[in-house]
Amino acid sequence: MEKEVATVEKGALCCSWNYCGQRLAVGFVDGSISIHDSLDDSSSSCSSKWKAHASSIKNIVWLPPEFGDAIACISADASLSLWEEVEDDTQPLKWKMCKTFESSNAIVLDLQFGVYSTSLKMVAAYSDGHVKVYELLDPLELNKWQLQAEFQNVIDSVSRFGKPSCANVSIAWNPRRGESQQSSFVLGFNSDLPQFNSSKIWEFEEAHQRWLPVAELALPGDKGDRVHAVAWAPNIGRPYEVIAVATCKGIAIWHVGLNPESDGRLSKEKVALLSGHDGEVWQLEWDMSGMTLASTGADGMVRLWQCNLNGVWHEQAALECNGMQQ
């Protein structure tokens, strides 16, 4: 059932696959990054490794393939850099840094890329609770970004809040790629200020050129729950969106309406709360049809969740990854 495809060197901290799953970027504790390319016989080899940052790499995110073979990486020293693989007449194939985003007073916790019609947007969330949306100005030059918006993950933007201290954040763009679709993403914090935590869907309002919260994915009693992971399921034709949100209470599956109601909000319904991981959920990943959700967690398990014909969500299988005990 399983097949080993690659071995990574000591000191690996995080990893991320590209759009077709053939390339894997691994971030190391010493600030270097390695790229593994899968070969035809489904084994893979390390095609390059370089030192990207002075301190350890915390997270790597691939850019959508329309923008080349490029990654964004977040290092522990609060810097965020973009790298792309290029080759031309004057230089051989290599990974080149094209941009760094400096932030003086807050650390980038997570970022995600979304493509809408032709433009690339990057949403980055910071340890001070701020969310910034950047837009790429030139689709062939990854060094020209413009800050499009900056806001906080709260519904009520008028009230003043204290300064939260955020440990973690999870962001997921709506994966739908239609021309007519509005850009939207869901974002939830793991912070000490309850108002910031609950996952909210932000949608770009073309008319006023601003981002608005259109749904809050938490029941009244759960709004302060720290969010560990979110994932927006691909929608291949469902009349509603499906979003998974992991909090300390478990993994909630939400159905969200496609079109706003009269008050501008999206209808939402929590259809399941799945418990299984003992402790924190690390990652949520939907498969290509949006029918199976894979989750990983601090219990060292990969759990696979599906909905049966009656609409009841259940754990279909689990993969035990705790390793050989010696």
């Binding site: 894997l24 693989e85 007449d89 009349p239 690390w282 990943e285 498969d287 696979l304 009656n310 689990a318």
Partner: protein, 720 residues
């Protein structure tokens, strides 16, 4: 919990009320504990990549015990294939079946579509024909699953070979045949029991993995047969014969009877009566009337096509048996085993329940024997279910195989169970292809499978299973290209999944891109084909193959990127026309050929190249025609909306010398006015914050303005 709150009362498939524990598979990744972090990613279809990372700092407790090689490992990446089969069928065979079933499936779908189109005209005649199409399809698939071995072609048959060697039967084919018998083949409904007899003859060995069957008993006897001196003294000889007779394997029974010692030449004299009895039973067995149109060669019995004829023959045959049973010859038969064994065979043929029950191992065998000897006149499905329940009570089975659960579902007329068993035991290929059999002539199943359900995202169960199967197909690089056929048969979500599937294909190989684009064209997925071309274009552009990069971006009609490339090229060549790099970018544009059409940026570059060329000619010589042509190019460029504004001033600045052409003004009044307007527009644009200042001397603008003004004056005088 909200997730568990559904009412079991309206369950489609009877799920146990408490949620069953999920199956836990250990992943053998070979990395020593502890694991610091696990990452997952879905790649193709159902393939899940799992990365298991060790803590980055060396573990002081376990570190010393580790082997040296382990010290260097930071983690492993494993690929887990979900929903892999039970191993009865090899991967290669599975792929062969997958490929082989595509044409039959596609043909059936297209027939279905054309019939649906016709149905608006004449509804009644369609149902009657439809099952014949499905039967065609079923035969095609059945052939794929393995062919039955032809009867032995040797001239001299070994009399001691009582079992025909068969190819290893597969559960998959057995299940397929069962569904064909019950759901599709309407012609065989009149002789259904006999079809089941045939089915059991082929697949008896698959009924159970652990318990005895008639097949296993027969195989046991076959092995011992060569070493047996006096077969009729062996109780197993008689037992196996009764077993084979009970399920209608008449040829086996007759063959075994003829091995009886009384047939031997030296025995004939002393055992005449005994031999007569054996032969009489053999004749009775081989003349058993059977309610079926024909028998395969080598099988015994007499076929009757109509019920009245069959009933007549049956009663006559039974009469012979009773007569023999009560004859006086038995007293003269001195060999006890023969006497008892033969009379047991007669009791079986007379349909005595106790004899039948002891002459079968599995409930399915008992079930078949009932049809053969107790209720020979059964037509259609009447009483099948209750009889099967009764047989199961008489011959309880400790283990239930998927095949038997499927049969129980079929007999219970429960399509939900049938579908669930197909899925559980035989996997997604079976479900998708067997649904066609299930709905061939079954209104209940038809509604069940085609009703759209909100829970499933407004799709039907049929579509759901097709999507699942397509996802399985897309897990392997050799099978993903047949997934579109199945996705195309999914009316609601098929193309959505196909788009994602195509988007996730790698673009490094030209042939692969062409294949993917062909699929896009076939299913009219313009958006995704343009995405694929954009991805390919960017990939090649960034990887030093600028020509093919531009080619794909042109194919994608990606104006935005092409314009940016045009700008890059422009910047790259610098401002001076005498620059060496002129040749380089000219070569690139040349490479693009004349196909450069609508894409704005490149159209501009082409014009710009023409302009630069003629400008160079003018500087080399000084022909008026060349100069006028250059100015025409300039006007064309300035008029063209695709010429970026930031190039206006450099263009005009390059032409200052021509504006001061000594012999005559090269521009008319209206042309000069056009250029002046552009210059005015440029001055306004300069006030905008995002205006990009060209790299020109500061007096460029004023020198152009002066040249244009002078030219205007001269042109007015000229035109007066």
């Amino acid at each position: 919990m909200p997730g568990l709150a559904s009412d079991p009362g309206d369950s489609l498939v009877p799920f146990p009320p408490d949620v069953r524990d999920p199956v836990v598979y250990p992943v053998r990744h070979g990395v020593n504990a502890p694991i610091f972090r696990v990452y997952v990613s879905w790649t193709r279809g159902n393939l899940l990549q799992v990365a298991c990372l060790r803590p980055p700092e060396a573990d002081p407790a376990g570190g010393e015990e580790d082997e040296v090689s382990d010290e260097e490992i930071g983690g492993k990446i494993v690929e887990v294939k979900l929903g892999a089969g039970d191993g009865e069928i090899s991967e290669a065979q599975r792929r062969r079946i997958a490929y082989g079933s595509v044409p039959a499936f596609a043909l059936l779908q297209s027939r279905k579509n054309s019939l649906a189109a016709m149905s608006r005209m004449s509804a009644s005649s369609i149902r009657t024909e439809w099952w014949e199409h499905v039967l065609d399809y079923s035969h095609h698939i059945s052939d794929l699953l393995g062919n039955p071995m032809l009867p032995s072609s040797t001239v001299i048959e070994d009399p001691e070979t009582v079992m025909q060697p068969h190819e290893e039967p597969t559960r998959l084919k057995a299940a397929w045949q069962l569904m064909e018998i019950f759901y599709v083949d309407k012609l065989s409904l009149t002789w259904l029991p006999e079809r089941l007899v045939d089915w059991l003859a082929d697949y008896d060995s698959l009924l159970t993995r652990t318990e005895t069957t008639i097949h296993s008993k027969l195989a046991g006897l076959q092995k011992r047969l060569v070493n047996l001196q006096v077969v009729e003294d062996d109780p197993e000889y008689w037992e196996v014969m009764s077993l084979a007779l009970a399920v209608g394997w008449l040829d086996t029974v007759v063959k075994l009877l003829r091995l009886h010692g009384s047939y031997q030449l030296d025995q004939l004299g002393s055992r005449e009566t005994e031999n007569g009895l054996v032969e009489a039973v053999a004749v009775l067995v081989s003349t058993m009337p059977r309610m079926r149109p024909h028998l395969p060669t080598g099988r015994l019995g007499q076929c009757y096509k109509t019920k009245p004829e069959f009933i007549k023959a049956w009663e006559k045959w039974r009469g012979h048996i009773s007569k023999l049973d009560s004859s006086a010859f038995w007293v003269q038969c001195s060999h006890r085993q023969t006497r008892e064994g033969l009379r047991n065979l007669l009791q079986i043929m007379l349909g005595k329940v106790s004899n039948l029950t002891s002459a079968t191992c599995h409930w399915m065998e008992l079930f078949i024997s009932h049809f053969l000897y107790i209720r020979p006149f059964t037509m259609g499905l009447e009483g099948f279910h209750s009889l099967s329940q009764k047989c199961m009570q008489l011959r309880p089975s400790s283990s239930s195989s998927g095949l038997m659960c499927l049969l129980i579902g079929i007999l219970g007329e429960n399509p939900e169970v049938v579908l669930a068993e197909c899925s559980k035991t035989f996997g997604p290929w079976m479900v998708v292809h067997a649904m066609e059999l299930l709905t061939a002539d079954n209104g209940h199943a038809d509604i069940l499978l085609h009703e759209e359900r909100y829970n499933l995202g407004d799709i039907s169960i049929e579509e759901l299973h097709r999507l699942v199967y397509a996802q399985v197909l897309s897990s392997h690089p050799l099978t993903w290209q047949i997934a579109p056929t199945y996705l195309a048969s999914c009316p609601k979500q098929g193309l959505g999944l196909l788009e994602i599937l195509l988007y996730k294909q790698p673009v490094q190989h030209y042939q692969m891109i062409l294949k993917n684009l062909e699929i896009c064209r076939l299913y009219e997925l313009e958006n995704i084909s343009s995405s694929i071309m954009k991805i390919a274009g960017t990939y090649h552009w960034k990887h030093g193959r600028k020509g093919s990069g531009v080619y794909w971006l042109q194919q994608a009609r990606d104006e935005v990127r092409l314009n940016k490339i045009a700008q890059q090229l422009f910047e790259y060549i610098g401002k001076s026309i005498s620059d060496d790099s002129f040749k380089q970018w000219e070569g690139l544009i040349e490479l693009l050929g004349s196909q450069v059409g609508t894409a704005g940026g490149l159209e501009f570059l082409h014009k710009y190249r023409d302009f630069k060329r003629s400008l160079q000619q003018v500087q080399d010589g000084s022909s008026v025609d060349a100069a006028r042509q250059t100015m025409e190019s300039l006007i064309q460029l300035m008029k063209n909306p695709s010429t970026p504004q930031r190039f206006w001033l450099p263009l005009l600045h390059d032409s200052v010398k021509l504006l001061h052409w000594k012999a005559q003004p090269l521009l008319t009044v209206s042309e000069t006015n056009l250029l002046l307007n552009k210059l005015q527009e440029l001055s306004m644009a300069k006030l905008c914050p995002d205006f990009c200042e060209p790299n020109l001397p500061p007096e460029a603008l004023s020198s152009v303005r002066l040249a244009l003004a002078t030219n205007l004056g001269r042109a007015i005088l000229e035109e007066c």
